[in-house]
């Protein structure tokens, strides 16, 4: 478990390939790429681009879940940071806008981390508070309107490109590498896993579990804020009501698909991002196939259930399923 890409993950890669193949059948031009005005275009790039917010959220969420926690407030944090970025964009420079928006995410993460690590609240409950109140705060910032902006700097963040790669994708990739380097390049990842595996035992062994929990929620908040800025930059505006709505669920789903156990103790950053891509590839495929987008929810529900059943402690993997079918039914 020391390498960035662990040995497990074959299932996820296969799943992605299968879904990509289905998409290819549904839409023959799916793999076409073309370079226009120094930027790549095509369905694949579209999948990456649209998948960015969830991929960023899952980067933070996977660490939180590794400590046996959960963060329901990421959607609301996206709305807050998007609202801040949009309201400041036309009057301040990009550094100030980014600092303010990411700072807000940091404060939100600190609040969640404080409730969980210091006050000892259950993570679901602690983050529920910000989930409920956060959207209200975002609306307070935008005064209930949809704030639009035209600052070219911020728009570039959402629609520009670097070396032909769309900016959001480049940012997500950068964050993945940064997070991976920090977490897996040091003992931090191990300590986070230890905290999730058994917080009490880890504490007795000298792990600063409180600091770990605080840190993962702060990181999750920052990632969510970045996702919020990108989402706002993408549509050149902030909609406090709908920005990041239900994305917390997609992020959790991405992490679960990535094989990270909801019971904490182990995680994989790359697979979580892969999970986000699988979700987006499914979404795009359903859209391309001409089925109503409402099918998305049904498909997601079935996928979650299937992955969960495989993850269930009572059935460890396929062998468990087989053994169960052979006659050890309850």
């Amino acid at each position: 478990m020391t390498a960035l890409l662990p040995r497990r993950g074959l299932a996820q890669i296969l799943a992605l390939i299968v879904i990509l193949a289905v998409d290819r059948v549904v839409s023959p031009q799916f793999f076409d790429l073309r370079l226009q005005d120094g930027r790549l275009f095509g369905s694949l790039i579209d999948v990456l681009n649209r998948g960015t917010p969830v991929a960023l959220l899952s980067l933070g969420m996977v660490l939180v879940i590794a400590t046996r926690g959960i963060d329901l407030s990421v959607g609301a944090i996206m709305a807050i940071s998007g609202a801040i970025a949009a309201s400041l964009a036309d009057s301040h420079g990009l550094p100030v806008v980014l600092a303010a928006a990411l700072g807000a995410g940091l404060v939100c993460g600190l609040w969640n981390g404080f409730l969980v690590a210091v006050l000892g609240m259950q993570p679901i409950v602690a983050t529920l508070i910000l989930m409920v109140a956060g959207r209200g705060i975002a609306q307070l910032i935008t005064e209930g309107r949809i704030v639009t902006f035209s600052s070219p700097d911020l728009v570039w963040l959402g629609n520009g490109s670097i070396l032909g790669i769309p900016m959001p994708v480049a940012i997500a990739l950068g964050m993945l590498i940064l997070t991976g380097a920090v977490v897996r390049g040091s003992a931090l990842g191990l300590l986070i896993e230890a905290t999730g595996g058994n917080a009490r035992a880890s504490e007795l062994a000298g792990v600063g579990t409180r600091a770990m929990i605080l840190a993962v929620y702060v990181w999750c908040g920052v990632c969510a804020a970045l996702a919020g800025v990108i989402a706002a930059a993408d549509i050149m505006g902030a909609d406090a009501n709908n920005a990041g709505l239900w994305l917390e669920l997609d992020a959790i789903l991405a992490v679960v698909i990535g094989g990270t156990s909801l019971f904490g103790g182990r995680f994989s950053l790359v697979l979580a991002v892969l999970g986000a891509l699988i979700i987006q590839t499914m979404n795009t495929g359903i859209l391309l196939s001409g089925y109503p987008p409402e099918f998305n929810l049904l498909v997601k529900a079935v996928v979650v259930l299937a992955v969960l059943l495989l993850q269930s402690p009572k059935l460890s993997g396929i062998s468990g399923v087989v053994a169960r079918l052979r006659g050890t039914k309850p």
């Binding site: 000892g120 910000l130 209200g136 679960v256 099918f295 259930l305 402690p313």
Partner: protein
Amino acid sequence: MKGLPPVLITAFVLVAGFALCAVQFPNIASTRVVGNLLTDNAFLGIVATGMTFVIISGGIDLSVGSVIGFTTVFVALAIERWGVPPLLAFVAILALSAAFGAAMGAIIHVFDLPPFIVTLAGMFLARGASFLLSTESVPITAPVYSTVSDFALRMPGGGRLTAIAIIMLVIVIGGVLLLRLTRFGANVYALGGGRSTASLMGVAVGKMTVKIYMLSSLLAGIAGIVFSFYTSAGYSLSAVGVELDSIAAVVIGGTLLTGGQGSVIGTFLGVLIQGMIQTYINFDGTLSSWWTKIATGVLLFAFIALQQGLVALARRPVTKRAGATT
């Protein structure tokens, strides 16, 4: 000490809040406003009653909002498009939602999965299914609907106690009795106190889990029917986010989110507090609706922090044992 002190605090917050509102807007203190408050929050009261059982047993049910949405669409389509008599449609949807809840409970128990994630999948499933039925709002014109909507008991002072408010009150009272006076209710508390402890005491944990989620989904189905009476339409996007409102009501009502402690009466008061905040904002006119969310969030925080303090106090003299929240 079964949940009494937190309920008293909730009651105090409600009375004090109502008094403050009444001082600023004397018109709030009328049976007319109170009657409307009960009508507007009837479906929330019903669904929150079911949620109370789930949370006391140590679980959570995120699917209720979607079940309400599915119910309204199903009922509307059954009555208007498929020509099913309303009563038969109600029975069918209640059976369906009960079965849905039972299935979730069974998955939670058999596969030992966190209720949070199983009901999350249920939420996707029910919402997706309602989208499949219809993405448009389907108006319901059956005569039963106008009869029920018109029916109301006159209260002194011009207030109207509508049929759906009465249904809600009956279900809340039923919930109180079920939780307090029956073996089922005692088992719910036992389960929340600790699953293995409850199992050792002879509670059929599996059966109870199935029944509790069945109850929650059944009540969500009833809430859906009530919601369709309220709006006279079925719409797949109705009641989005109600699961959070009902969890908030349960927590504000003094039920411990870790399970084992709480009351239906507290939940009812929690629903009324949320309705009161909404009413106040409507009366004020200058405040925007997002203040409801912020106020609810602040109240949630205050009550959870309070619970945390009470639990810490209660645990101090007891020897530390994981899961034993008495």
